[in-house]
C-alpha cells in the first residue's frame, strides 16, 4: 500500500486502500499497522486533522481491529 508521509508527533506516514477499507499507519518507531474496515470518511478525517495522533487516539484506536504487518 502506498503511504503518504504526514507531519505528526507519533505517525510518520498513512495509507488507505479503498477497495478493502484498510488504513495503514506507520509510527515513528518504524512499526506499520493495518486497521481493518475503516470507512473512507475516517481516513479523510485523519488526513485532514490538525493533530493526527489525537485523531487516531479518539476515532480509530479502540474502534477498529488492527494487525502489525
Amino acid at each position: 500500500m502506498k503511504r503518504t508521509p504526514v507531519d505528526s508527533s507519533n505517525i510518520s506516514s498513512i495509507g488507505y486502500d479503498e477497495e478493502s477499507n484498510t488504513l495503514e499507519v506507520e509510527f515513528h518507531s518504524g512499526a506499520v499497522y493495518q486497521y481493518f474496515d475503516v470507512p473512507l470518511n475516517v481516513y479523510q478525517g485523519i488526513i485532514e486533522a490538525s493533530s493526527k495522533g489525537q485523531y487516531l487516539a479518539q476515532h480509530i484506536k479502540g474502534y477498529y481491529r488492527f494487525v502489525k504487518v
Binding site: 508527533s9 484498510t22 479502540g62 488492527f66 494487525v67
Partner: protein
C-alpha cells in the same frame, strides 16, 4: 611523586594477586582532582596503579572499608577502617603499552595511585587498527572507546549473558552491526540462530533470512529453511528418525547401517558425484538417498505376513496383503510414506489358508512406526522433505548441498539469520543440532579452501542458548556445540552464546568461551556460574553484575586488554531487535503513543476471533486479510 594528587595510599599486605592498601589520611574527602577532573576514591571496579621502578602495575579495586581490613589488624587500626583490597591484573611500561600478567610483585610501602583518564587511554586506547571493533565506550570515561579484538572474539568464542531486559539483544545487535560493517570487513560471515525472530528488523538489507514455514508473501525476503536429512551422519540420522536407539539393539543398528550404505551406493551408481567413489563411500558420507524408500523396504520386511499353506515360502508373490473394497491389494506407497497393510496371522484347522509372520529378525517395529509418522506429518518437512533437496526414490535430487551452503554462508550479505521462531520447542534442539552439524562438517573439510573456515571464519550466534544447550537434554545440539567450542577454533568456527540463564547452559560450553559480555545478572546461581567460568579471577567484578545499568556490560576475557565496564553503543532505534516487551499501559499519552494497543485503550466493540483461529491454523501470524503491496 611527580603527581601527588593521584596518590591514594600505601601497600600493607601482598597475598598472591591480592593486595591490601591503607588509604592515605589526606584523601579524606573521597574526591580528588587530577588535571582539573574529579575522581571518586575507592570506587569498586575502578583501576589503580602501583608504580615500581620502570613499570606500573595495574589493579582493580574489589573491596573497600571494614571488611578489607586484614584480620589481625582489626584491633589495631591506625587509620580507622580505611582499607582497600586490590586484585592485580597487569603491568605497563612507563608510558608504554599495557600487558596482561605481572612480572614482579609490589611490596609493602609501595604507593598506590589513582588511574586518571589519560592512564585509562593508555590501557584501553588502541591505535586505529581495523581488527579492533568498537562496541561502546568505557563507563565513566566517554572519550575512551571500548575496543574488542575481532580475532579473539570470533575464534575464541564468546558469551553474552544477562537478565531479560538488561539489553542483551541490543548488545548483540550492536556488536554484530559493528562486525558486519562492509567497509572494515567486506567478507564477514555471521550466522544468527534467531529463536524469537527478533533480528530480521535489525539487520534488514544486511542479512538473508531463512525460516521454517517462511512467509511466502514476504517478497522473497524470507526463504524456506531446509536441512536435508541425508547430510547428517548415521548416529544423528538415527537420533532424529527413531529417537534414542537402546544399546541392546546393536544388531538392528548394524543392519540399518548396511541398508543406508546400500541406498547411498545405489544413488552414487546412478548419479556419480565428485569426491566419493564406491570404495570410499561410508555410511556418514553426505550422499542423497531416499529415506522413504528405505523406510518402505524395512517396513515391508518387518511387518509382512505370507500364505504358508502348501509349503509356500515367504517370497514376495506369497505376501498376504489386505485388500480394499474394490479388491486392490493395499501395497502402500513409499513416496507418501503410506505403509502396506498385511493380513493377520491365521492358523485354523479347517481353513486351508494359513498365514504366518515373515521370518524377520529385526526388532524395530516401534522405530519404524515412529519414522513413518515423522515422514507423514508436515512439521518435520524441513528435514525429511527439504524442498529442492528432497531425494526421489532413486536418490536423484534437484539441488545438492553446495547450493544450500552457498545460500547460508556464501551469499553477498554478511549476515544470515536462521529464524527458528516457527519451530515447536520440542524439535528445536534437533534443528539447531543438525544445522550446526552441517555447517561444522562443511567448514571442517574445506579448511584448505578459500571459502573454508580457516580462511573465512564463521561466527555463529546462538540466541536463547539455554533452550537447547541445556545439561538436561541429551540432545544433539549440545554435543555439536561442545565440539564447536572445543575444536571450532582450529577450523574457523566461532560461537557467540547468548543467554539469560547461564546456569542452565552446559558448563563445558560456557567454560570454553574466551570472552564474556556480562550484563545485569541478579540471580545468584547464574552469577556463580559466570564467575566460575570467567577467565579472570576477579570476584569484585562479578559482584557488580546485579547493579549494572541497562545496556551496560562488563567485558572480560581474551579479546579485551583488561576487564572493562562498558556502555554498549546501541544501534539506531529502527535498527534494534524487535524484542521489546508488550506494553501493558503506555506511559506516553495516547495521542503521542507509538502503541496501538494496551490495557489503557478500550477494545474494539466487535473483536474478531475468527482471525485468531485462522492464523493459528495456518501457523502463520499474518492473516490473509492483510493488504499487500500491489504489484
Amino acid at each position: 611523586m611527580q603527581n601527588k594528587s593521584t596518590y591514594l595510599g600505601t601497600i600493607q599486605d601482598v597475598n598472591g594477586t591480592t593486595v591490601s592498601v591503607t588509604l592515605a589520611n589526606e584523601s579524606l574527602s573521597g574526591l580528588t582532582y587530577v588535571n582539573g577532573e574529579g575522581y571518586r576514591i575507592g570506587q569498586i571496579g575502578s583501576f589503580v596503579k602501583i608504580p615500581i621502578g620502570y613499570i606500573d602495575l595495574f589493579g582493580i579495586v574489589t573491596q573497600v572499608g571494614a571488611s578489607a581490613v586484614p584480620e589481625n589488624q582489626v584491633q589495631n587500626q591506625p587509620y580507622g577502617n580505611r582499607w582497600l583490597t586490590i586484585q592485580l591484573v597487569g603491568e605497563g611500561q612507563r608510558n608504554g603499552k599495557f600487558e596482561r600478567g605481572i612480572s614482579q610483585y609490589p611490596t609493602i610501602g609501595d604507593e598506590v595511585h589513582l588511574v586518571s583518564e589519560s592512564d585509562l587511554k593508555r590501557i584501553y586506547g588502541q591505535p586505529d587498527k581495523p581488527y579492533f571493533v568498537k562496541v561502546g565506550h568505557i563507563a565513566g570515561a566517554e572519550s575512551i572507546s571500548a575496543l574488542v579484538d575481532v580475532n579473539k572474539l570470533v575464534t575464541r568464542h564468546s558469551a553474552v549473558v544477562g537478565t531479560t531486559g538488561s539489553g542483551k539483544s541490543t548488545t548483540v545487535a550492536g556488536i554484530l552491526s559493528a562486525l558486519s560493517d562492509s567497509k572494515n570487513y567486506p567478507s564477514a560471515r555471521i550466522i544468527i540462530l534467531d529463536i524469537h525472530g527478533e533480528y530480521g528488523q535489525a539487520f534488514r538489507g544486511k542479512a538473508n533470512i531463512f525460516k521454517v514455514n517462511a512467509n511466502k508473501d514476504s517478497k522473497g525476503q524470507e526463504k524456506e529453511l531446509c536441512i536435508p536429512y541425508w547430510a547428517l551422519n548415521f548416529n544423528e540420522l538415527t537420533q532424529v528418525c527413531f529417537g534414542d536407539f537402546s544399546t541392546e539393539k546393536e544388531k538392528e543398528k548394524s543392519a540399518l547401517i548396511e541398508r543406508v550404505l546400500a541406498q547411498k551406493e545405489k544413488t552414487l551408481f546412478t548419479y556419480p558425484r565428485k569426491g566419493v567413489i564406491k570404495e570410499t563411500l561410508s555410511v556418514d558420507s553426505p550422499i542423497p538417498f531416499s529415506l522413504n524408500q528405505l523406510w518402505f523396504e524395512l517396513w515391508n520386511e518387518t511387518f509382512f505376513t505370507f500364505y504358508s499353506d502348501k509349503g509356500k515360502r515367504p517370497l514376495k508373490e506369497n505376501w498376504a496383503y489386505e485388500q480394499d473394497e474394490d479388491g486392490n491389494k493395499l501395497i502402500g506407497d513409499a513416496t507418501t510414506a503410506t505403509p502396506p497393510r498385511f493380513k493377520p496371522v491365521k492358523n485354523v484347522k479347517e481353513d486351508e489358508e494359513k498365514i504366518q509372520y515373515g521370518p524377520s529378525t529385526l526388532n524395530i517395529r516401534g522405530q519404524l512406526e515412529t519414522l513413518g509418522s515423522k515422514l507423514r506429518i508436515p512439521r518435520y518437512d524441513f528435514l525429511f522433505h527439504p524442498g529442492k533437496f528432497t531425494p526421489e526414490l532413486d536418490g536423484n535430487v534437484e539441488s545438492d548441498l553446495d547450493s544450500l551452503l552457498k545460500e547460508w554462508i556464501g551469499s553477498d550479505k554478511p549476515i544470515t539469520i536462521l529464524d527458528l521462531s516457527g519451530v515447536p520447542i520440542d524439535i528445536l534442539n534437533t534443528i539447531v543440532g543438525v544445522l550446526l552439524r552441517v555447517l561444522y562438517e562443511a567448514l571442517f573439510w574445506s579448511r584448505r579452501l578459500s571459502q573454508g573456515g580457516r580462511h573465512r571464519p564463521l561466527l555463529v550466534v546462538m540466541e536463547e542458548a539455554h533452550n537447547y544447550l541445556n545439561d538436561n537434554f541429551k540432545g544433539i545440539a549440545s554435543s555439536v556445540v561442545q565440539r564447536i567450542v572445543k575444536e571450532g577454533r582450529k577450523y574457523g568456527i566461532g560461537a557467540m552464546i547468548v543467554s539469560q540463564r547461564p546456569s542452565e547452559i552446559n558448563s563445558t560450553i560456557l567454560s570454553q568461551c574466551g570472552t564474556f559480555f556480562a550484563m545485569r545478572l541478579a540471580n545468584a546461581t547464574d552469577r556463580g556460574h559466570i564467575s566460575a567460568a570467567l577467565p579472570d579471577n576477579l570476584d569484585g567484578l562479578t559482584n557488580m553484575l546485579p547493579i549494572l545499568r541497562t545496556g551496560e556490560a562488563i567485558i572480560v576475557g581474551e579479546s579485551v586488554k583488561l576487564p572493562m565496564r562498558t556502555i554498549i553503543e546501541a544501534p539506531p532505534k529502527d535498527r534494534r531487535p524487535d524484542s521489546q516487551d508488550p506494553i501493558v499501559f503506555d506511559e506516553t499519552p495516547t495521542e503521542d503513543s507509538l502503541q496501538p494497543g494496551g490495557w489503557g485503550i478500550p477494545m474494539e466493540s466487535n473483536p474478531n476471533y475468527e482471525e485468531i483461529l485462522e492464523v493459528w491454523r495456518a501457523q502463520n501470524p499474518f492473516p490473509a486479510r492483510i493488504i499487500k503491496e500491489k504489484k
